[in-house]
């Protein structure tokens, strides 16, 4: 107990006001400490989420934003140039632009023959294990890989094409198609081939079912089948 009161008294005596040099120095040190703590707590922008993010994440975010900006700037430049051309008034250019869009839409709608580089796929299925969903998967995969025009059997695949199982094969919008199924697709051959051949992709699933899958690319091919143009 005595030691306790002693130490308390000594604490009080130490805390008492004795202005001499070392005490002043200690005071200055505490001043610095208080200043530092306040600065650290009141530092502006401590509530920004970026401050605590890791450097790698920040770099990733920056890269993404940069790529996005580049894309948008390219798009903006294209549209600005187009606007200028159209405003410059030459009717020929407006017609050319309209024609370009018409062609693009015709390709998508399937009302015009298309030629260009592409891939030809043959799925031989003598035992009848391939059903409509597999062919649909192939079509979706080709579309994802940027195919502009697709033909299955003798049918052009367009926005309202449907597939169903059929005795002896499948039915594409009502037209029976039997093995071997031939699929033509116009687009970038490299991209489409690698999309088809990814592990667990269309080629894999066809082969695991016991059918044969063959794909070859062509630098020039034509899809001449069209769907009738209907006004709607």
């Amino acid at each position: 107990m005595t030691m306790d009161t002693d130490s308390r008294r000594s604490l009080l005596s130490q805390l008492a006001f004795h202005p001499n040099r070392p005490h002043l120095l200690i005071g200055v040190l505490f001043l610095v400490l208080g200043l530092l703590v306040t600065i650290a707590i009141l530092r502006p922008g401590t509530d920004e989420p970026w401050r605590t993010a890791r450097t790698e994440d920040l770099v990733q975010i920056l890269d993404d934003l940069g790529a996005r900006q580049d894309r948008l700037e390219a798009e903006s430049a294209r549209l600005t140039a187009l606007e200028r051309d159209l405003e410059a008034g030459s009717q020929a250019q407006a017609i050319a632009e309209a024609q370009r869009r018409l062609t693009a839409l015709q390709v998508l709608a399937g009302t015009t023959p298309v030629s260009g580089p592409g891939v030809q796929i043959t799925i031989s299925d003598p035992t009848g294990v391939i059903e409509a969903p597999t062919i649909l998967d192939a079509i979706q995969e080709l579309r994802d890989a940027g195919a502009e025009a697709i033909q299955v059997g003798t049918e052009r695949v367009v926005v309202d094409t449907w597939l169903a199982n059929d005795p002896g094969g499948i039915s594409v919008s009502g037209t029976p198609v039997a093995s071997p199924y031939r699929i033509l697709a116009i687009g970038d051959p490299e991209t489409m081939l690698s999309a088809l051949n990814i592990p667990g992709g269309v080629a894999d699933s066809v082969r695991t079912r016991g059918a044969e899958f063959a794909a070859s690319q062509a630098q020039e091919m034509t899809i001449s089948v069209t769907v009738p143009e209907t006004a709607s």
Partner: protein, 110 residues
Amino acid sequence: MIAIIGLLVGIALGVLWSPVVPIWLEPYLPIAIVAALDAVFGGFRALMEKRFDDRIFVVSFLSNVVIAAFLVFLGDQLGVGAQMSTGVVVVLAMRIFANAAAIRRILFRA
């Protein structure tokens, strides 16, 4: 007494003046604070044990801050800045806890 006055003046200065920390100093600020706190707790413990020495306190305060900042700087240069900061903070925090325990034992005998 003068220490408390200094602390209060420092806090007041920080609030009123709110200086902008240069960007190169920013990683060292928290480390410097923890190192200084370590020195303060050590000094307080020495005060309790009646072996407080002004000179030792001043020297340990300054050297703590400088060494901690240097370690973090070295870590930054070696590419392990974040881990080094964590290590320094952990060690200093452990010392602070040890000192706080000693102070508590003397003050409250518990």
